[in-house]
Symmetry: D2
Subunit: 339 residues, 4 copies
Amino acid sequence: MIRVAINGYGTIGKRVADAVAAQPDMKVVGVSKTRPSHEAYVAKQRGYPLYIADLAKKGDFERAGIPVAGDVEDMLKAADIVVDATPGGVGKKNRALYEKHGVKAIWQGGEDHEVAGFSFNSDCNFPDAVNRSFTRVVSCNTTGLCRIIKAMDREFGVKNVRAVMVRRGGDPGDIKRGPIDAVVLNPVTIPSHHGPDVQTVLPHVNIVTLAMIVPVTMMHMHVVQMDLEKTPTREQVIQIIERHPRMGLVRKSTGITSTAELKEYAMDLGRARSDLWENGIFEESVSVIGNELYLFQAIHQEADVVVENIDAIRAMTGTVTDAAKSIEMTNKALGFTPI
Amino acid sequence: MIRVAINGYGTIGKRVADAVAAQPDMKVVGVSKTRPSHEAYVAKQRGYPLYIADLAKKGDFERAGIPVAGDVEDMLKAADIVVDATPGGVGKKNRALYEKHGVKAIWQGGEDHEVAGFSFNSDCNFPDAVNRSFTRVVSCNTTGLCRIIKAMDREFGVKNVRAVMVRRGGDPGDIKRGPIDAVVLNPVTIPSHHGPDVQTVLPHVNIVTLAMIVPVTMMHMHVVQMDLEKTPTREQVIQIIERHPRMGLVRKSTGITSTAELKEYAMDLGRARSDLWENGIFEESVSVIGNELYLFQAIHQEADVVVENIDAIRAMTGTVTDAAKSIEMTNKALGFTPI
Amino acid sequence: MIRVAINGYGTIGKRVADAVAAQPDMKVVGVSKTRPSHEAYVAKQRGYPLYIADLAKKGDFERAGIPVAGDVEDMLKAADIVVDATPGGVGKKNRALYEKHGVKAIWQGGEDHEVAGFSFNSDCNFPDAVNRSFTRVVSCNTTGLCRIIKAMDREFGVKNVRAVMVRRGGDPGDIKRGPIDAVVLNPVTIPSHHGPDVQTVLPHVNIVTLAMIVPVTMMHMHVVQMDLEKTPTREQVIQIIERHPRMGLVRKSTGITSTAELKEYAMDLGRARSDLWENGIFEESVSVIGNELYLFQAIHQEADVVVENIDAIRAMTGTVTDAAKSIEMTNKALGFTPI
Amino acid sequence: MIRVAINGYGTIGKRVADAVAAQPDMKVVGVSKTRPSHEAYVAKQRGYPLYIADLAKKGDFERAGIPVAGDVEDMLKAADIVVDATPGGVGKKNRALYEKHGVKAIWQGGEDHEVAGFSFNSDCNFPDAVNRSFTRVVSCNTTGLCRIIKAMDREFGVKNVRAVMVRRGGDPGDIKRGPIDAVVLNPVTIPSHHGPDVQTVLPHVNIVTLAMIVPVTMMHMHVVQMDLEKTPTREQVIQIIERHPRMGLVRKSTGITSTAELKEYAMDLGRARSDLWENGIFEESVSVIGNELYLFQAIHQEADVVVENIDAIRAMTGTVTDAAKSIEMTNKALGFTPI
């Protein structure tokens, strides 16, 4: 059993913890919080040992009825590997601590590539992660782009990618962030940073990305356009998507035309936290015009990187060295129901 | 086993179906749809026989890979009782059909009281529903108001109720309804119809209600103020809420201050569809000023009536005649985790 | 003085009426409403004679204190030209009436090209509108696309256009339409109808468009990408935009990064109804990558077609036959302040 | 001519500046900004001398084409009175500066009562402001409450007030603040701070207030309920509202049922910045039930305090000592069109 600690039990951390707990070859040795909050009660309900950043606050937790197992260093001592799911920019500061305790570490896409020196996506570079000490799982948007680009590149050769990302303003439980009634260019400059981020995983891809933020909480929507070397039929593209373990085809017959309906469908299917771990690619949108492929894909910002973290754990601990095998194990344990 | 049909497999119907399926004394004999849609795939995944309104559309369903068990009349023949969860105003037209087939029927709050001649709330008038043929479960807002009013009236005597309801514009999966950026008075006139609707269940309550619609999808928020006969302490009120099987206390220590965070908490607790079946009453808001009680309560519009439908089924079929016993059975089967 | 009637005094009609009234060579002979509403009071305040669709409703208007000048046919008798600003799809039915009264007519982009057999944009085909009886001013989005495409094509030659449109769900005063929390593909299929609509004005342009709807009320945002024959410098593109009478450059030094801030700026500048009649092109976004031009442009859906209607009136009545002259007159009368 | 400086040229400051400029007895001697931004361009367009907090940033402004007149101290030297419209909490720190320069000062409701030791509302305590050095104009919500409470108290005697405020999340041009999809209790505790704030103006009023934040940008909506000494007729209440110079009746015949439509109406009437300076009270909502009065009122958060600032300037400078006279002057200069 791989002993996994999760440092930061928030939007991503709580999902990674449950995904780890669901795997046959891993166990959660602890999760960490800085303050008592509803997530601390959830950790208690799940039976995850709760560690805190500052032991001086132990009393606050205990008064709220939440037992404290120790501090973050105590947690690291019990772990083979730590998933750092602290807020963007904070994770970097933890590297020295992980090195001190000789624990392997995974960071999220909110950190720069340099934090680990290696950026990961299960489909693209799993073998390069085998036995590594430090890895960064790229962001939700970059993960979604890497999956579709790699899948098309493998079969048809991708010359150029142009992607427009319409991003959610805040997660569903986030009540501070806006906008309320605006389309915000983020950034105004073109291209956005997402293209270079894709290149940390797929260095040879020629890509221009643009991004906007809109007042929604559920999923990002990507317009992806690629110039291909070989011209596929629409049916060939759809078939690749259908067979891909991390892409789901949103079929025309479901009547789904939006992020909200897709989230409702994931909920109705009984997915944990209504999560969509795979790219949600709209069947009707898949279009081949000349040698150009166009499609819309929905990316669940809270979920798609969770499964990548699980695969990264296996690769880094060297327990599974074949990407396809790890992906299959991860998906099966989570109960991937086809959408 | 009580054989239950669900006519209308949408927001409420799909939840009632799963709640029925979870009970030890009931089974789902069928659900109905008018068109293929994502919910039809969900019915298939759950194994619920799917009946359709118009057999001429059978081909549309079958082409989408969804088997059809028959038409709505076929479904009624297999049922002891039908839960009508068709859109508001449609249910009324189905009464003749239910009478023809001699099947008991439950309507939702979108229909008028007259459709059944009896309006139901588990806490308030369960005994009056025993062995009835027709019952209307009151709307989500009325259900939430009835629960808190009855609980306080029982202990302290309620002289007057004033309630302001801030309502969601559309459900999460509804992409047509607004508003996008407005507070809409609905209605502009005071009082709103909700007060008289409470009186269909609690005829002697003196109540004035007002309602607004705002651009949110998750939960209604109620401000409830009551003039009481006896002056309770704040602690007494909180204790009643804590012990009530259909009210939940949103504790200060969770840090939750909004509908969005409360929904996230219900999700994290693993509730099916992140549903909050009970009134979510904010601990910090409970205030006694003179002989007046004030509080905020969140009402999950998709969920709170689901459990009332289950209790109504037991009462109407005469299989359980004690409210407390049915409520306990319902809650246990659904895995009510305390919030 | 050109005598102008406005049939339909809503979002577009009320703006066209005020724009007509501001021109030195035109006057408003009447506006029409079907029901009393706040706009009827506004017409009265402005002193526009109010005509109604159905004289049987005259009493409703008069009881609300709003005088009625007659019915729509009476209004047409007083006019040289009518601007049809009725809801999309309704305008088409009015054609027979306009023919009967021998009045020239302008429709909006909610109608099909066939309603008039000619689709108009001031920059692109003003000369073709001279002395025409019937003209359709293309929609707000098509207008915005035509302006930028034509301006670039004139200088650099446009080989291909790819445009992604992020559209507002409803206008600010519209409380019915959503979505509240979703990105809606509209349509899911690629390409959207906007490309062919551009081709009604610019038939030789090779264009693929995609569209989404998001929960905002203020402005659409376009991502425009063009493959050009000649490669311009970024500065050349910016200079063309700066000098264009219907394009405005949103300068970096304003700090504006969103539709909301741009609308606020138009408001602060004292624009009537805070309207942005020109394309709002973000200076920082203008990028030349190889032979490809990228930029973001904001399109105020309520405003940009208003000035096109004014120019169309001049062309169709033959009173001004030079596009540049009409555009200058229109802009000057409205007090175009540079943004 | 009263020489007025405006320290802080943002949402409130820019409106106060234009309102001052419109008065026959006042002039704007300067406005201040900390950074170049779109508002700095607006100040330049208006011809207001622009002063900056830190002269070291003069180059930033000048490079953006905006002339700088000096620093804030220079501005104060030219003024009889300063309106402090800096962000909440900042104004307090400026008091020493105002004292140093011997300039009278007005703060906004974002500051505590103690900053000035006197809280102002034109209808309630204008005479007490005459010749004062320091005054605080209460917040938009408190201003709206004071107006309606005072008007009713004068005629009927107000025993108790209960008010529920549904507040906008951010102003229209604010792209940072949320929530996007939540009703946020702000605060969760009851009563909110607004009641005590009303008491800074009307010390003897017995009032309980509650507040929520929702994802809208246009206006707050208040539910106001009062227990009255004398029972009025509904018509008497409506007549008082109609005749009140700072309250407007939103008539049933306009069809307006929401904040969005009311804002649209103010825009269509040609109001500067579509501002609603008066309480927008919904005619149909005015209800007398027993001795209780209920009504809905919309409060434009950006606008209603602007006119109060103008009146405060006259009172404090002793140039007008009669409230009614100042209110009439202010309204007339702004072109209050009845709604």
